[in-house]
């Protein structure tokens, strides 16, 4: 017994920090997801020329908490003929996979729950792909036709787009030669150029494939509300339903983080290696001060005292974060002796800011697309995946490899690599469009009636 206790203590002593971070992430993530949903509703309202949630808290800022309470106390309905155990297991699987894959992400040079794993990016991608089982099994266990249809569509969609996404990752990884997330970002800092410029086609492929994999509009066929009620989650209600919601948004964060790490320079500031652009370090604190000042200005416009207080609290929070962000930049200017001591704080805090900023931009792009492009039909989705994205990504891997060899022959580095990678990208696009055109011609000659719409519902 004593030995077991000792072993446990030893284990805790080694791993208390990651364990604590893990618990913190699991605790805070639902809150973050709630606010992402609020932001999404606000953006949707903005694009549709209305106000969005305004009642709960100033500008609806407390809406996520009200929604969470509502979902928690809602009646939990399990259909009579459902497979009870699988019905219970499915949403848990979905959320579990999403949360587990967060462990591999590095938000700054120091902040990573599973420190420095060698298979880094594969771990994140592989584990987050397991979430599909939650969707498929949930759809099956509900014992409803709409749910099953949603589950079938979801698995078909994931299998088709995973290949394209994987190939896109490969062509970006060709530049780094490592799977370790930290080393990938360091490679981008060493080259002085983000991989989105070196491998634009791969970034585009990953962008489209990641929208399809997270079941977001315009590829949200598994939950197409105009055809399938709510797809695989038709029979889920209350807390179970919110678990699916949590899983979907966690997956969005995961794909956005993978894209940020691989293509957008991770936690690096834009132009991190250019000394005369160092004034960019002042942008994050100034941005937050501006938001805080705006909140203070809006205080008098709030109708009730509670809302005024809450607005003040928001402003206060912005100022505190601005102070934290400003400290590592301003202190070395005032007292140069502190430069060395402050450096790790600078890397951690500003790295975290830029990482979260880029992830937010990526998610904003998702939302923008959702409210701009109408939903695809299922055969259109399959055509786009198999006839365009997969050939494009395979050709791109080939051509990026050739470009790298040519670049190594001429000793090209950093921005110089653009000389060989840009023609490669253009060639890949031309080849993919050519394949698409040939296939279209072929289809037209065969005069097929509408493509098989087996899953079209």
């Amino acid at each position: 017994m004593n030995a077991a206790l000792q072993a446990t203590l030893e284990f805790l002593k080694l791993y208390w920090a990651p364990l604590l971070c893990g618990v913190a992430v699991v605790a805070i993530l639902p809150l973050i997801v709630g606010y992402i949903v609020l932001v999404e509703r606000k953006i949707m309202a903005d694009m549709q020329a209305r106000l969005g949630p305004m009642r709960v808290g100033p500008h609806g800022l407390l809406q996520p908490i009200a929604d969470a309470v509502k979902l928690l106390i809602k009646e939990d309905i399990i259909p009579e003929n459902a497979d009870k155990l699988v019905f219970w297991l499915a949403p848990v699987l979905s959320v579990g996979a999403g949360l587990l894959s967060l462990a591999g992400l590095a938000i700054g040079p120091a902040f990573q729950i599973a420190q420095d794993i060698n298979i880094g990016i594969l771990f994140v991608v592989g584990i987050s792909a397991l979430g599909i089982f939650g969707i498929v099994l949930g759809g099956w266990a509900s014992n409803s036709h709409y749910s099953l249809m949603g589950a079938l569509r979801s698995s078909a969609q994931l299998v088709s787009y995973e290949t394209a996404a994987g190939m896109a990752l490969v062509s970006a990884l060709l530049f780094t030669g490592t799977l370790n997330i930290k080393s990938i970002v360091e490679a981008q800092s060493k080259e002085g150029i983000w991989f989105v410029l070196l491998a634009p086609v791969a970034f585009f492929t990953y962008l489209v494939a990641s929208i399809a994999e997270t079941n977001r509009a315009p590829f949200d066929l598994p939950e197409a509300e105009s055809e399938l009620v709510a797809g695989y989650m038709t029979e889920f209600s209350g807390f179970r339903w919110s678990l699916y919601f949590l899983a979907e948004y966690t997956n969005m964060i995961v794909v956005a983080s993978v894209a940020t790490t691989l293509f957008l320079g991770g936690w690096l500031r834009p132009f991190a290696g250019v000394p005369w652009l160092n004034f960019l370090d002042y942008v994050p604190p100034l941005l937050l001060i501006a938001i805080g000042a705006y909140s203070v200005l809006r205080v008098t416009k709030q109708p009730t005292q509670v809302q005024q207080l809450f607005m003040l609290a928001v402003a206060g929070l912005c100022f505190v974060v601005a102070l934290v962000l400003a400290a590592p930049v301003v202190l070395p200017v005032i007292r140069p002796a502190l430069r060395e001591a402050v450096a790790p704080f600078y890397a951690g805090i500003h790295g975290g800011f830029w990482f979260i900023f880029k992830v937010s931009l990526y998610i904003y792009f998702f939302m923008w697309l959702r409210f701009t492009i109408p939903r695809y039909r299922f055969d259109q989705l399959m055509r786009l995946g198999w006839h365009f994205l997969i050939p494009l990504s395979i050709i791109n891997v080939l051509l990026v490899g050739v470009a790298l060899i040519v670049g190594a022959y001429f000793h090209l580095h950093g921005w110089g690599l653009l000389l060989v990678t840009t023609p490669a990208a253009i060639l890949a696009l031309v080849a993919a469009f050519l394949i698409l055109a040939i296939e279209k011609q072929h289809d037209a000659r065969q005069e097929q009636t509408a493509a098989s719409d087996f899953y079209a519902g």
Binding site: L14, D83, N118, I119, F133, A156, V159
Partner: protein, 172 residues
């Protein structure tokens, strides 16, 4: 100590869920237990410090093949399937296969330590709290000493893929 606990934990899960996988009457439940068994095997790989095998097991078998399995199972009418006899009556074939497998395992135990280790990837020593770089080691051995078997396997898979496409295509 921790290694042993982890090994028996994952091994126990793997064996138990494999047994459940065979005995369940519901096909979807069998699939879930198969997934569990595969994940537990991945856990054993990780316990043996083979992180690359761990993630490949998860990505290929669990995330790829099992998704297709479940996909096909959903297209089957389970109510009809439940009426049918589940266990094929092929006792003698099963017995021979089981004996052959047992013999193979026995030979492996007998010759353990005497197997040739030529060309197998050698993991370089690293700091105690880090894992050896084994994706690099696997890649190096695949593309140097095992290049020919690797290429043969690739060509075989390609042939199988083309065959599947040809068979699935409508005859005009």
């Amino acid at each position: 100590m921790l290694d042993k606990v982890l090994f028996y934990f994952f091994a126990g899960i793997a064996v138990a869920s494999a047994a459940f996988m065979v005995t369940r009457r519901n096909v979807v439940h069998s699939a879930i237990f198969l997934i569990t068994a595969l994940l537990a095997t991945a856990g054993i790989f990780l316990q043996l410090r083979a992180e690359f095998l761990f993630i490949v097991q998860i990505i290929l078998y669990v995330g790829g093949i099992m998704v297709l399995f479940v996909f096909v199972i959903m297209l089957v009418n389970l109510d009809v399937a439940l009426q049918q006899i589940q266990f094929a009556r092929q006792k003698w074939v099963a017995l021979i296969v089981a004996l052959a497998l047992a013999g193979q395992v026995g030979v492996m135990f007998w010759t353990s330590g005497k197997m040739p280790g030529q060309g197998l990837p050698v993991l370089t020593a690293v700091a105690a709290n880090r894992l050896p770089l084994n994706s690099e080691a696997v890649a190096k051995s695949l593309f140097s000493s095992y290049l020919l078997p690797f290429e043969i396997a690739s060509v075989l898979l390609l042939v199988a893929m083309i065959g599947a496409v040809v068979m699935a295509k409508k005859r005009t």
